[in-house]
Point group: D2
Chain length 379, copies 4
């Protein structure tokens, strides 16, 4: 693991998710630029001192030098955005598979370089768009693939948070500091941090691609350097339209990612904060509540493959995150043993998703700065 020292939020999440299914073990880490912090983190995690590295350069180099059965199988990079590209490229160059936090990089160009490298090396690459790890998100995708709703017409996806309603970055909040800092976060705040999740979710479930966008971004809190709120009108490649909103200043909201998709015959509604229910609304019959783990003959295999508990035993964010890791681990071990991963059991976001995410961010920025209504989203 690169990054994720002992006080980092997302590092602990990654570790809990990675180990949940007993398929992945933490064997080494470069947890911090600060040597003291790096060592304390390693100790806290019961790592031997010789595999607690003080920099990612050192880690990648030394691990590459270990015998195959001893060295790490892949590297998980959980640093702030501006430190994604370099260690990821370095790891790929050294022959390591990579798990990377989103957004993939700081620029679309960097993302494309990584993509090229992944294609050249044939290594596995996983981007932790957590929310597509939920079983009912996979169920929704499967239903749309099977034309349960008919042609898709509308996509409304929203991601309201309220935590940045005040100028938290001036109050010593570390998360707020780097996420609102263009040097560390990139060109967009709200759209980079959460808008990309929303865009990815919309494309993932519908199987459609965003083609054109009309974006309005705002810095709502005075003194902030990056947008903390944005609204985007969307056009998709099948003619469907949509709206994407992402806000970090929707005061009182927690992490209310929600998507609604409508086709000719009905609609789907899913909200991340109650992820074990998928509401299916039909035009000609009563709405249905699909539940994770339950209703076995109705749930698709791909959804069930991502459930750990029977209906009524709620699974949550860590389990969704663990599904990303589990599916990556299945793909990796299949690959390591010479096989071909099956789509149902090895479904995780990859390098193309990362490139599209960066293209989304750059197109939103371009559109927000334009007086024209529509801007093409080009990759």
């Amino acid at each position: 693991m690169i990054g994720g020292g002992k006080n980092a939020f997302i590092g602990a999440i990654h570790r809990a998710a990675a180990i949940m299914d007993g398929q992945i073990e933490l064997v080494c880490g470069a947890f911090s630029h600060d040597p003291k912090m790096a060592k304390e983190s390693g100790a806290m995690l019961f790592l031997p001192e010789n595999r607690t590295y003080l920099s990612y350069d050192e880690m990648i180099e030394k691990e590459a030098g270990l015998p195959a059965h001893e060295r790490m199988d892949f590297v998980a990079i959980v640093t702030p955005n501006f430190e994604h590209f370099t260690p990821a490229m370095m790891a790929l160059n050294a022959g390591f598979h990579v798990v990377l936090e989103k957004p993939m990089t700081v620029t679309l160009d960097e993302a494309k370089q990584l993509q090229k490298k992944v294609y050249e090396t044939g290594l596995l690459f996983c981007l932790t768009h957590t929310y597509v790890g939920y079983p009912l998100v996979k169920q929704a995708r499967q239903m749309i693939r099977e034309h349960a709703l008919g042609q898709i017409r509308k996509v409304w996806v929203e991601y309201p948070q309220g935590w940045l309603s005040n100028l938290l970055e001036k109050d010593g909040n570390k998360q707020a500091e780097w996420r609102t800092d263009p040097q560390k976060s990139g060109k967009s705040g709200s759209m980079g941090d959460i808008g990309t999740h929303a865009a990815h979710l919309a494309e993932y479930i519908t199987g459609l691609k965003i083609t054109d966008i009309c974006a309005h971004l705002s810095i709502v809190v005075t003194g902030r350097k990056l947008d903390d709120d944005g609204s985007v009108l969307l056009q998709f490649d099948n003619g469907a339209t949509g709206v994407l909103t992402a806000s970090q200043v929707a005061a009182g909201e927690e992490n209310a990612l929600k998507i609604r998709i409508y086709g000719e015959k009905g609609g789907l509604e899913w909200e991340q904060q109650e992820p074990n229910t998928l509401i299916v609304k039909w035009q000609d019959r009563p709405a249905e509540l699909l539940r994770a783990g339950a209703n076995y003959t109705y749930l698709s295999n791909v959804a069930l493959a991502n459930c750990r508990t029977p209906g009524g035993h709620p699974e949550g964010y860590l389990e969704a995150f663990a599904n990303i890791y589990k599916n990556f681990a299945v793909a990796l071990s299949t690959k390591l043993s010479g096989g071909d991963p099956e789509p149902e059991t090895s479904d995780y976001p990859g390098v193309e998703d990362g490139v599209r995410g960066m293209a989304f961010i750059e197109s939103v920025i371009a559109s927000a700065g334009s007086e024209r209504k529509w801007t093409s989203m080009t990759v």
Copy 2:
């Protein structure tokens, strides 16, 4: 009453709402252009034959000729949009107060003519934007007036319906026929029929005015003549931004008007389909559920004045509609007895609301046809 013959949906709603509080009595009507239907409707409603008129011209003329204590006090016009202007103007000219269905007219220009006439005559004019009749909508407005949320930053208002997901207007559905017909409905379908409700609700609760819009309209169902779906980015006069969506092709949705408003300190959420709960989300403490009729020390007087039942005895659409009528009746009887209506007990949408509604429609049409991102909403 003008329009609202025995098979008309909205006529029956108006009558039930008008009589609910025992303040208003139906005394005459011109229910249909079809004499047979007009007469049958009058008979069904227990009206005497001599006050069941065959045209609104006749009704207005004859009623005006009756002694003051006998003739109708006001006229309610519940015809399709294209027949709003003429009878309303005629009624005002004849000295009758007017209750009119929304949208006010077919063009902004007509709306302004009515406004001018109302100002000149000093007569009362009520536009039945039903949804602001709900007590918790009034509560929301009152809370924002009292700065409970601080400065308003975001407004998300949505109005999804699914009933026009098919080409219903070709299947003999009367409602669908006139509402999708530009001759009868006006320049916009979804925005005129339901978008205006959403825009009005947003302005009513926040006390803000929409200044600029960026609209995208679609005809989703092939063969339809008017937009059945639209999305609008909004800017308000205090710098807040928002998104308004209105769709008649959100398959599986009923009448899911919903608004969320965020300020510096928290947010409000209200949904018409469960209108007796107002969710108040706070940035620094747990969300609260305000309930119609309950929590007496927390509900404002204006909210309580629009409740009929104690908490837990749900009120609905007819009661909201009845509040519009009741408040109009209170204003009217106060005026008739020479007094000044009090805002708390005589709060109903008026002629300015109607004019702004028409301006909204015309601006949306203009924006939808423009390649520029933003169009001013001018009245």
Copy 3:
């Protein structure tokens, strides 16, 4: 109308409900024992002075003396429980049909006397068990009649209120005063006031009869004279079992009547505070949300006959109450014109329901005072 003077809660509810559909008109009233109040109430309701009576004796006698086309068709009695029997019996003796508030009387014996009189006279008798007026309650009953759930096994019905959590009857609250006074309310507080609604709802929907009960009653608030909380285990005539709870001291609750019924194949859940949704849970497929006014091919005719608005336009307590009146009015006018009322359009609680309600109260009291587990409910 007998009772229901200008400050009475339930009188205003009855009037709003009765007039909602334009089938019933208030023509006379004996609103109060207090002559001043009686007259003011009549004036407030626009009644002529000669039909505002000072006692129900006077009203029944004088109305009976009017010509048939002039006198009232039926009498609605909305007084506290202890004044149900005498005016009801008097009205029946004078040949008037009767609408009576629940519980029917103060003792089971009185209830049986009324029943006998109703049978003898052939007059119509309606008991306002409001909650069975909701369209989805009728839908639930219809589904069970058609064996959608298979054999019924479990019935859980609960009626939590919190309004009597304090000794409100000592604070000048009129409602609390009479409802907690054995002289005016009868032998039971919580069970008489709300437990009877719950028992009636359970029998109405399931079509089953309670045969045995095991009751525990409490006076939770010190100083109160009647039970304010009770729990009852139930056995039904088909072998199903159940639990009924009724509490007036569930602090923070409003009027949360809720019922869940399970059969071999699935279950039904309905809650009065969100009455427009009926949740149907299936053992072998996803749960469904049936909605009032919507899903037309799924809703039974009897449910639709009790809806006024299309789906998504919520109806509430007053509409449910109005359905009782409307169905009574349909039955009455059918009878007056010599016809036979149809079950679908004239479904309202009658004299047998009232007798069973009184039997329930007396059995609960008996069981609560017994050390034996089970007490038969005998009528």
Copy 4:
């Protein structure tokens, strides 16, 4: 670990929960009586062959013989009920701390023997009553301890499941087989399997003790050997009353454990299927929604100590289970290092809870067989 072979439901749950926080590592196991299954399970879990034992006798004996720093620290017993007592007693006798599935034993007498042994040895003992691991359950307990609701008056706890609506035990379902078999499960089906959870939850949150019960048990599905449904009236040691229901034949329900508790000032409502929200209903102000991970100044330290993610990132059943293990691990490592565990960070159900659980089952059986209304619950 004893039990929990590769196809066992609860074994996998225990392991995922135990390892989640990186504090506990699986070092050995006796997973099955079937040697093949035992070995395959060990291999699947990456255990060395010499620590994959073929019986728990062997495991306890051999582990006890290992050097202190090598041998297991504690044993987790996840076998069916009838195999709880013997291995637990054996482990305690060998000096191992114990984590045991509930219900603790098959008889109250066995439970008391274990309790005696735990007291004598001073070893730690944890009973996995999972549901008290949820952070908001701890929040509820803390609020009641701090008298937020005033004196507690009512407790309603319900545990509806539907999975045994058919005679599943005859269809080859392993879970159904042993859970409905008196030889393996004990004297009660529904009350032993889920009723004990409900009773424990009620006592845990309120801090009250059940003193008297009035139970009715049923075998609803013909051919079953143990009760699959039961209802229990409760009396608590402070005079409060309550109702507990547990059903395995509530067709269509998943695992809908729910508790409502009312005091003088308000009530609490928590449902396991949406565990991240605690509804607090107040008598004199709006209801509040407390959310796991959020509302930081309102959540107690003990609740926050049991959250892993910030508000809006839902946690579920595995995290609740992991809290039991984490708190046990904290207590154990504190103890191993000579310290005293703090209540806030080492709160897990213990041997007294197990004994009371068995007393509850035996009292319910006694009451169900009695014609008297009330039976004392004696431990």
